[in-house]
C-alpha cells in the first residue's frame, strides 16, 4: 500500500477519534442534549470500508453512526450542529446524533432501532437496480442486528434479486450491556447463515484499518462486477459505555482485562505505527484538530431551529 493511501486512512481514523473524544470531553457542559453512541475503538471499520466507496455510493447506518458519517465524508459542521440541536444541523436539529445524514455524500440516514435500516438499504439497492444506476449500497449494522428477524428477511431478498450490497457487520461483542454468550448459541456461525442465504461472507480484523481497506477493496470490486451481495464481519470493540461520554468498566459487565486487551489493539495506534513518519502525522493532525475545533465553535454559535419549521411537515 502506498504512503498516501496509508496517510489518508490514518486521517480518517484520527478524525473520528478526535471528534468522539471532543464530544466526550464537552458532553458535561450539557449543551449536547441528546444520546450519543461513540465509536471510540471502532474507527478502523468505518474508515477501511468507506475508503473504498465513491462519492455517489450510498451508505445507511445505525445509532452508532458518527464514524460512518465522518468516514463517508459527511459535513462535519452539520454533524456537530445536529448533536447540539441547532438549525445548522444536517436534519435541522430534528434528529440528533442518531439520525445523521448527508445526501450529497450518499449518507442516506441512520436510525437507532437495531436492524431497521437493513431493509431500507436493500430497498435503495433495489431502486438502483430498477433504474440501472451502478452505485453500491453499504449497510452498516452491529452483530446484535443479525439477531433480528428483519436481517434474515433482508439478506434473503438481497440474494434473491442479486442486489449489489455490501453488508458490514461490526461485531463489538456487546448489545448494550449484554454479551454474545447470553445472546447466541456457542456454535452459531454467521458465515453459515450468510452462505445458507447465498450471500458471500468474509471476516477481517476490524481494528486494523489497512487490513479492512484491502479486504473491502477486493470485495467491492467483486460486488460491482457480479452483483453478488456480500457480508463482511469485522471484529472490533467498544471502549466506552453503550450510550454516553464515559468509561464504564466499573460496571463489570465485561470480563476483567477484556477492555485492556482491546485497547492494546487500538486502531489509531496501529495505523500510526504503520506510517512511521512523525512529521507527516503531526502535520495531518494539526490540520484536522483545527477543522474539528472550528466545527464545535460553529455548532455552539449557531441558532436553534425556529418553531415554525415543524409546520413544514405533514402530520
Amino acid at each position: 500500500m502506498n504512503r498516501n493511501t496509508k496517510l489518508n486512512l490514518f486521517k480518517i481514523v484520527y478524525k473520528i477519534r478526535k471528534v468522539e473524544e471532543t464530544i466526550s470531553k464537552l458532553y458535561s457542559e450539557n449543551e449536547m442534549r441528546c444520546p450519543v453512541h461513540l465509536s471510540i475503538g471502532q474507527e478502523a471499520v468505518a474508515s477501511g470500508v468507506c475508503s473504498n466507496l465513491k462519492e455517489n455510493d450510498e451508505i445507511i447506518s445505525t445509532h452508532r453512526s458518527h464514524a460512518h458519517y465522518i468516514a463517508k465524508g459527511g459535513n462535519l459542521n452539520s454533524m456537530i450542529s445536529e448533536i447540539y440541536g441547532k438549525k445548522s444541523g444536517c436534519a435541522l436539529g430534528i434528529g440528533g446524533s442518531m439520525h445523521l445524514q448527508d445526501l450529497k455524500k450518499g449518507i442516506n440516514g441512520s436510525v437507532p432501532i437495531v436492524g431497521s435500516t437493513i431493509p431500507i438499504g436493500v430497498g435503495i439497492a433495489l431502486f438502483n437496480k430498477i433504474k440501472k444506476k451502478n452505485n453500491l449500497v453499504t449497510i452498516f449494522f452491529g452483530e446484535g442486528a443479525t439477531e433480528e428477524g428483519v436481517f434474515h428477511e433482508s439478506i434473503n431478498f438481497a440474494a434473491l434479486h442479486n442486489l449489489p450490497i455490501l453488508f458490514v457487520c461490526e461485531n463489538n461483542l456487546y448489545s448494550v450491556y449484554t454479551g454474545l454468550e447470553q445472546r447466541q448459541p456457542k456454535k452459531r456461525d454467521l458465515k453459515k447463515i450468510c452462505e445458507g442465504n447465498s450471500l458471500a461472507y468474509y471476516h477481517e480484523d476490524g481494528n486494523d484499518v489497512i487490513k479492512v481497506h484491502n479486504k473491502v477493496k477486493e470485495i467491492v470490486k467483486r460486488i460491482r462486477k457480479n452483483n453478488q451481495p456480500t457480508l463482511i464481519e469485522l471484529s472490533t470493540y467498544r471502549w466506552l459505555e453503550h450510550c454516553g461520554p464515559n468509561w464504564d468498566d466499573n460496571l463489570r459487565y465485561r470480563p476483567s482485562g477484556e477492555l485492556k486487551k482491546w485497547i492494546k489493539k487500538c486502531p489509531l495506534a496501529r495505523i500510526k505505527k504503520q506510517i512511521k513518519n512523525k512529521p507527516l502525522i503531526s502535520r495531518a493532525t494539526k490540520q484536522l484538530d483545527k477543522e474539528i475545533n472550528s466545527a464545535f465553535v460553529f455548532a455552539k454559535n449557531s441558532k436553534f431551529p425556529s418553531n415554525k419549521i415543524i409546520k413544514n411537515f405533514y402530520f
Binding site: 430534528i94 445524514q101 431497521s116 430497498g123 435503495i124 433495489l126 431502486f127 428483519v150 431478498f157
Partner: protein, 354 residues
C-alpha cells in the same frame, strides 16, 4: 356511467397509475399468483413485467423497509397485505421509519408509498383474520389513512394515494370487493375529504368502509319512519374531515358514529371527542358510538354473529338518540323483508370462503 366491482376499481386504479407513471411499482405476497389478491392485481405482471410487479418472500417487515428505501429514491411502491393482520409484522417499519422519514430527514426525503390492507370479516375467519385495526395507523403522525366504502371512491382515492407525496395506508374491506358501483370519473377524491351521502336534519350519522353499508341498509326504514338522517361517509380517517362533521352537527345537534371496529379507544371515540371539544354548543343530546363488541372475534358463527353489529342494534340506537319510539311490528317486518339474519356473511346466499 359504467358499473364495476370495488375490486375491479382497485385494479383499474393500479393499472392506470402504472400506465401513467413509470415509477409506480407493486410489491406483495400473491400479487402474481392465480388469485392475484382477489383479482385486484390480475394481469399486471404480464403488462408491466417483473421489474415493476415484484412477487415477494413472506417477509412483511423487510418488504416494507425495502419499499421505503426504494421510495425515498423516487419509486412509488404499492404494498399489498391480504389481511390487515399480516401488516402487523411490519409495524416497526411503518411507525418508526415510514411515518417519520420525511420528518427525520427535515423534509429532504419523502415517502410516496401506499400500503393496501384488506380487512376480513365473518365466515369463520376468527381472531386473526377479521380485525378492523384502522385506528392503530390513524394514531400515527406522518401517516395518511383512507378507507373508502364504494367502487368509485376506491378508484379515485387509490389513484390520489399513489400520487401522494406521503405514505398512505389504504384499507379495503373484503366484503366490499364484490359490490358493484358506478364510477364517477369527473372529480378526483382528495385525501381528507368526507362525503355527505344523504342530507338530513334530525341527526348526523358518521360511518365508513363496510359499516357504512350496514347503515345504508337501514336507511329506508329511517325514511319510512320520517327520520331525516344526514349520513357522512368519512372516506379518510387521517386527516379527518372535522369541518364537514361539525357543520353537520351544527345543523342536526345529534350524532351517532357507527364504527367498523371496536368502540373503545377507536375511530368513533376520536370523532366524538372531537365533536365534544369543538361543537359542544351544538349538541342537543349525548353523542353515541356503536361498533363491534369489545372482544376478540370467534370463528364459530353463533359466537361471531353476536360480536358484529346488526341492523336492529343500529336502528334502536338511532331511535334512542332522536327520542322516538319504534313500531316493533314494522321493524320486524322490515328486517324480515330486507335483511340477512346472519351478521357473519355479507348476504343470505353467500358461499365461502373469502
Amino acid at each position: 356511467m359504467k358499473e364495476i366491482k370495488f375490486s375491479e376499481a382497485i385494479l383499474e386504479a393500479i393499472d392506470q397509475s402504472m400506465q401513467k407513471d413509470k415509477s409506480v411499482i407493486l410489491m406483495g405476497l400473491g400479487i402474481t399468483d392465480p388469485k392475484s389478491i382477489f383479482g385486484t392485481t390480475k394481469g399486471l405482471l404480464k403488462k408491466y413485467g417483473v421489474k415493476r410487479v415484484i412477487e415477494t418472500p413472506t417477509s412483511e417487515n423487510a418488504v416494507t423497509g425495502i419499499a421505503l428505501g426504494a421510495s425515498i429514491k423516487g419509486l412509488k411502491p404499492i404494498i399489498t397485505h391480504q389481511r390487515v393482520e399480516f401488516a402487523l409484522l411490519s409495524m416497526e417499519q411503518i411507525i418508526n421509519q415510514i411515518a417519520k422519514w420525511n420528518f427525520m430527514s427535515a423534509g429532504k426525503q419523502s415517502v410516496p408509498l401506499v400500503i393496501r390492507m384488506i380487512i376480513g370479516k365473518g365466515w369463520g375467519q376468527g381472531p386473526q383474520h377479521s380485525q378492523s385495526l384502522e385506528v392503530l395507523f390513524s394514531h400515527i403522525p406522518g401517516l395518511k389513512v383512507v378507507a373508502p366504502s364504494n367502487a368509485s371512491d376506491a378508484k379515485s382515492l387509490l389513484m390520489t394515494s399513489i400520487k401522494e407525496k406521503h405514505p398512505v395506508i389504504f384499507f379495503e374491506h373484503r366484503w366490499l370487493h364484490d359490490i358493484k358501483g358506478k364510477i364517477e370519473n369527473k372529480k378526483e377524491v382528495k385525501i381528507g375529504k368526507a362525503k355527505i351521502i344523504k342530507k338530513g336534519k334530525d341527526l348526523t350519522i358518521v360511518s365508513f368502509s363496510e359499516a357504512l353499508i350496514q347503515v345504508m341498509r337501514i336507511y329506508n326504514f329511517l325514511k319510512m319512519n320520517n327520520v331525516s338522517a344526514e349520513i357522512i361517509d368519512l372516506r379518510s380517517l387521517r386527516p379527518l374531515d372535522e369541518k364537514t362533521i361539525i357543520k353537520s352537527v351544527s345543523k342536526t345537534g345529534k350524532i351517532i358514529v357507527i364504527d367498523n371496529g371496536w368502540t373503545k379507544y377507536g375511530i368513533a371515540s376520536e370523532i366524538i371527542s372531537m365533536v365534544v371539544e369543538k361543537g359542544f354548543k351544538f349538541l342537543k343530546s349525548p353523542p353515541k358510538k356503536i361498533g363491534i363488541e369489545n372482544i376478540s372475534i370467534s370463528s364459530s358463527r353463533t359466537l361471531a354473529e353476536k360480536t358484529y353489529l346488526n341492523s336492529k342494534q343500529i336502528i334502536h340506537n338511532i331511535f334512542k338518540i332522536i327520542n322516538k319510539n319504534i313500531d316493533k311490528k314494522k321493524l320486524n317486518e322490515f328486517i324480515k323483508k330486507n335483511e340477512n339474519d346472519h351478521t357473519d356473511i355479507p348476504y343470505q346466499d353467500f358461499r365461502g370462503p373469502f
